[in-house]
């Protein structure tokens, strides 16, 4: 007896109806979903009613996708925080009574006040479903077990991945409240098939495993799913994780306040927009959609955030709008390379845009350098300049550090075309992180940022 009929289990897509829908039909469906969401938000969210009234936009005026692009205002985190501050925790941002709350999350608050996120049962089920598109594409089914080395706190993190395992019908094994050594012992004891973690933690477990004499490639883990920071779509980082674990590595890109928007796929070269439950634009600094193949800011609308609607939300993430299908067979929008950086981390060195993800990928080309590095950005009168601090691998003679640094500088110069100083340091000299690594240190004066012009204020 099986959970899914055999002919269903053999299907390539979780929802082939929408995942292979031609673009023109998908866009028509998006228009109906956007209109429904805007109408709901205007009727039920004081924050959205005030925002649309301020911009003199009524829901019934959004008749085409062009109207949506041109007329509907963007919204940023600060506006939501201001709306929540009216009467904490949710204030004017709330669209549904507390009766319908299922779970509350909050962002980490590392940039100031935390943003509070109410999830209804409806939202929670569909946050989970976003992960299922990836699980299914990765060949994972109800019979598989998923290990969560995660502490189940107030930060959304992997909660939605857990909801996805429930939605799929597979097994959850919790590694909450344990240190890394205990988690490795659990993996040995319970023999899960899948491990979910940030790329940093997936690699950190490798260091812990070495300390206690465990070969991760010999564990039961055959699939690693990473999320929470760029890495899974950076070939060298993905390869490092796959080699370490002896497993296939996939990525999901999500945003804490809006959900798991972009599941990866079997091709492992990027992520797709989950177009059943999200709409997205990729825009330039003028707020206009970029041409296919170009990089821009990811602007997301959720169809499933009925507790606290978010429409044309500025993520500040930079992605490339794919100009060709990825080859997995879905018609959903493809972002090769996943998240390339942040608008507030974008570096311009002598007129060349440099993305942190590119720096990581190129450092991996230097044999002798480990996966630990820091990018320090500063600015003189006219230009950003970058210094990279990289760690040598254990066993590398210190006399070679300068040579490795020159090799890395040569790679940056030949591939990106810019001069970036690289200082190589001893192994373990840089901080270690359990969850998200802090790689980017911005010493530039405030105000030197990507500015999204227009449509933020009337």
């Amino acid at each position: 007896m099986k959970l899914y009929k055999p002919e269903i289990e053999a299907q390539k897509f979780w929802n082939p109806y929408t995942q292979t829908m031609p673009r023109a039909e998908l866009d028509q469906l998006h228009l109906r979903k956007l209109q429904t969401t805007i109408e709901y938000a205007y009727a039920r969210s004081p924050m959205y009613r005030k925002l649309l009234d301020r911009h003199k936009v009524k829901p019934e005026q959004i008749r085409t996708l062009d109207d949506f692009v041109k007329r509907l205002p963007f919204i940023d985190k600060k506006e939501i925080l201001d709306a929540q501050a009216v009467s904490p925790p949710f204030g004017d941002a709330l669209a549904i009574p507390e009766d319908f709350f299922h779970q509350r999350f909050a962002t980490s608050g590392s940039t100031g006040a935390p943003l509070h996120i109410p999830l209804t049962y409806h939202s929670a089920e569909l946050w989970g479903e976003s992960w299922v598109y990836l699980y299914w594409a990765a060949g994972l089914r109800a019979r598989h077990s998923f290990y969560f080395p995660f502490n189940w706190g107030i930060f959304a993190a992997f909660w939605s991945a857990y909801m996805g395992v429930r939605r799929l019908g597979a097994t959850v094994i919790s590694g909450g409240g344990l240190d890394s050594k205990a988690r490795l012992r659990q993996i040995d004891q319970y023999r899960p098939d899948v491990m979910l973690a940030t790329p940093t933690y997936a690699l950190y477990l490798g260091e812990t495993a070495r300390e206690i004499g465990v070969d991760l490639a010999r564990t039961s883990i055959s699939t690693v799913i990473v999320s929470g920071e760029p890495g899974g779509s950076i070939p060298a980082t993905r390869h490092a994780i796959e080699t370490l674990w002896g497993a296939r590595c996939y990525e999901l890109y999500g945003i804490a306040e809006i959900g798991p928007t972009n599941p990866g796929c079997a091709m492992q070269e990027g992520v797709h927009l989950c177009e059943d439950w999200y709409h997205a634009l990729v825009v330039d600094e003028s707020g206009n959609p970029v041409e296919p193949g170009a990089v821009g800011e990811h602007i997301v609308t959720s169809y499933i955030q009925d507790g606290q609607p978010l429409i044309k939300y500025r993520t500040h993430d930079l992605v490339r709008r794919g100009d060709r299908p990825c080859g997995c067979g879905t018609t959903w929008a493809f972002y090769p390379g996943g998240v390339l950086g942040r608008t507030d981390h974008m570096i311009i060195v002598k007129g060349v845009n440099v993305y942190p993800a590119a720096v990581e990928a190129l450092l991996h080309r230097i044999d002798g350098l480990s996966e630990h590095y820091e990018v320090h950005v500063d600015r003189d009168a006219t230009n950003d300049f970058v210094t990279v601090r990289a760690e040598a691998r254990p066993g590398i003679d210190a006399a070679r550090y300068a040579e490795l640094g020159r090799d890395a500088e040569g790679v940056f110069k030949s591939v990106i075309g810019v001069s970036i100083d690289v200082a190589v340091q001893a192994p373990s000299s840089l901080p270690r992180y359990e969850l998200k690594a802090r790689r980017f240190f911005d010493h530039r004066p405030a105000g030197h940022r990507w500015q999204l012009a227009g449509r933020s204020e009337p």
Partner: protein
Amino acid sequence: MLARLRDLQTRVQELRQAADNPALERTMQLLDLYCHMARWELGDVRAMNPEAETR
């Protein structure tokens, strides 16, 4: 399939109205929610959530 889903949801909503105990009402509410989700998955978009559709 869509017609059958809509019909099913109508009957679930009637049952929810008629439910005379909390356990049954909650189960019917979840059934209503899942019917609503299934309709969205087939492109039948009417409202943001089932509560918005019926009130």
